[in-house]
């Protein structure tokens, strides 16, 4: 069941009515049933996978909790133990906990890896077989890949690591834990919530409040506007341009770059708005996933503001553990000794960042396109990091820091840079992407962008006007949002103004949603991850 389908709207209306009608202590149970019904309606086979991940993670969490309790009881009973003996006992318990955590990670990440990456591995092996003439190619496997498997697996793995670290309380009730993993608004494209951040609000009893419901509905409408009016309209031109590279080179590649930048933004943030809006309508607070990323002045800032929950997940559970693990600290010491201070102290950071961006690329999709995309981000971030002292000197020398025109320049530069890197997601393979990027530079004629041929991409003049108006609204909204919640600001306005704003938004979705021009709303881009 898709967020943009009528059945989803009906599902939400029924759920909201029931949610506020049932006794408050049953609200979370109702949500669990709703989440499993939602997933069942997508594909009944998905339930096997998500149930397994939920039950296994919960079980390992309980195992770790039991070890902790055992340690506490033992130390209470044996107060006579010396410092060294206590330390030794604690180390033994910690090792058992670590084994449980690692086993849990291997099993669940193993499932994710097998389901998502087996065919990618086979594809590469077959490439080698063909190249070296080793015999007949391997057959591809037809697995059922549950929608949003990366999201719920990461959510669960974050939980088990936090339980191991002792930074998260173990959930003793299996069904409550199952709701945390399967909470349907977040199931298909995030945000990737942490148990500590979501649980209190998820399991709390929520009395009906008009403001809560109204704010949720507004956010849902805003998400539909982004998805249906902007993203799905852009999609038509994006598909025409990317599917016909031989016909659309030069300035068209630039057009594709910009269309895709705004399509992805509207698509992904729109989906997240719907997810957060549905949660908010039930009084449930969910972590924000975006903070006006296209206002970032450099790539590092961009990644702190785009898909925030994924970024912090990779930082907390991959980047930090790799950088501070004992072998890496040893390597750091050795490299300082042999390569000198300047290079030596960069080794752990570079290695860890490389692993993070490689896995980030792989997480986004089982193809070389995404891996190269991830590594391009790594390269640009590292260059930015190395050039930092130069930037500081430049800013101090020319006194440009904080100047509005310079801020604008940095923002546009970051958008262009990120959009260029993202082209690796767009074309069918990596060599073609390089070829088209080269073609963009060598055959660029700005007049192409203003010629009538732009009307042959599947969009009419009216579509372009709607897109332009949509982007202006998006930009204005982001500018207003800089000084606080837009919904709160609207709430302070007279009631007719509030209703008029919501009505106009609804009207725009109904009138200008890209329903009838051959689009397929079958997917949000991030569903596939």
């Amino acid at each position: 069941m898709l967020f943009t389908s009528y059945s989803f709207i009906a599902f939400i209306i029924i759920l909201l009515v029931l949610y506020y009608l049932v006794p408050k202590k049953w609200q979370w149970s109702l949500l669990l049933i709703a989440s499993y019904v939602f997933y069942f309606l997508c594909d009944a086979r998905y339930l096997i996978y998500i149930s397994f991940t939920s039950i296994s993670t919960w079980g390992f969490g309980m195992l770790i909790e039991r070890q902790g309790k055992k340690q506490d009881d033992y130390l209470k009973e044996h107060k006579e133990l010396g410092r060294e003996e206590k330390k030794q006992y604690k180390a033994g318990i910690k090792s058992k906990k670590r084994h449980a955590m690692v086993l849990c990670l291997v099993i669940n990440l193993g499932i994710l890896a097998v389901l998502k990456y087996t065919n990618f591995v086979i594809h590469n092996i077959n490439g080698a077989i063909r190249s070296f003439g080793w015999g007949s190619p391997l057959t591809f496997v037809n697995f059922v890949v549950p929608m949003g498997i990366s999201f719920y697996t990461f959510k669960s793995m974050g939980y088990i690591i936090d339980v191991y670290r002792g930074t998260c309380k173990t959930e003793k009730n299996l069904f409550r834990y199952m709701l945390f993993v399967s909470f349907f608004p977040q199931l298909v494209q995030g945000p990737i919530s942490r148990y500590n951040d979501l649980s209190e609000s998820l399991f709390a009893q929520h009395a009906f409040e008009f403001k809560t419901l109204w704010f949720g509905i507004q956010r849902i409408l805003w998400g539909f506007f982004k998805k249906l009016v902007i993203a799905d309209r852009m999609l038509i031109a994006v598909n025409t341009l990317k599917d016909n590279p031989e016909q659309y080179g030069g300035a068209y590649v630039f057009a594709l770059m910009m269309f895709y930048a705004f399509q992805l933004y509207a698509d992904f943030t729109g989906g997240i708005d719907i997810a957060i809006g549905v949660s908010n309508a039930m009084g449930i607070s969910v972590a924000e996933n975006f903070e006006r990323p296209y206002f970032s002045k450099n790539i590092k800032e961009y990644w702190n503001r785009w898909h925030i929950t994924m970024g912090t997940w990779f930082t907390d559970y991959i980047f930090y553990p790799i950088t501070v693990c004992k072998p890496m600290l040893k390597l750091s010491k050795a490299s300082r000794k042999h390569l000198g201070e300047v290079i030596g102290k960069r080794v752990p950071v570079y290695l860890s960042a490389f692993v993070v961006w490689f896995t980030t690329g792989l997480w986004h999709g089982a193809s070389w396109n995404f891996i190269v995309w991830g590594l391009m981000n790594f390269v640009v971030i590292m260059i930015t990091q190395e050039l930092k002292p130069l930037y500081v000197r430049f800013h101090n020398r020319f006194h440009v820091d904080g100047k509005r025109w310079y801020d604008g320049f940095q923002v546009i530069r970051t958008i262009l840079l990120m959009s260029a890197i993202r082209m690796f997601d767009v074309y069918r393979d990596v060599p073609l992407t390089f070829q088209m990027m080269g073609n963009m530079v060598t055959h660029f004629h700005i007049s192409t962008l203003f010629s009538s041929s732009m009307l042959a991409l599947g969009l009419t003049g009216v579509d372009y006007i709607i897109l332009l108006a949509g982007l202006v609204i998006l930009f204005t909204f982001s500018m207003v949002q800089r000084s606080g919640s837009v919904r709160e600001k609207l709430w302070c306005k007279p009631v007719p103004v509030q209703y008029l704003a919501a009505f106009l938004l609804l009207l725009a979705i109904i009138l200008f949603g890209a329903y009838s021009i051959g689009y397929d709303s079958s997917q949000f881009i991030y569903n596939q991850f």
Binding site: R165, N304, T315, F319, Y320, T323, V324, K345, V349
Partner: protein
């Protein structure tokens, strides 16, 4: 504490570490700064800061970070 302040000053000389208590909250230190600090602390104090200790409360101020180093040295 002097050594720690030197490590921090080398990363961001413009910051007053004696008074600043929002190094993470105000995004003064980023993830690269944090791992540099951890590596330097390991060199200087021979203390390994584990991943679970990388939380804002431990890195928001020089004092908090120093308290963490002392605690870890004590645990050793």
């Amino acid at each position: 504490m002097e050594e720690l302040l030197e490590i921090l000053k080398e990363l961001h000389p413009e910051v007053d570490y004696e008074t600043c208590t929002t190094l993470i909250d105000d995004k003064i230190l980023d993830s690269f700064d944090i791992v540099s600090i951890i590596s330097e602390v390991n060199e200087e104090y021979d203390v390994a800061i584990p991943a679970e200790e990388i939380v804002p409360e431990n890195f928001n101020s020089a004092q908090a970070l120093y308290a963490l180093i002392e605690r870890l040295m004590d645990e050793d």
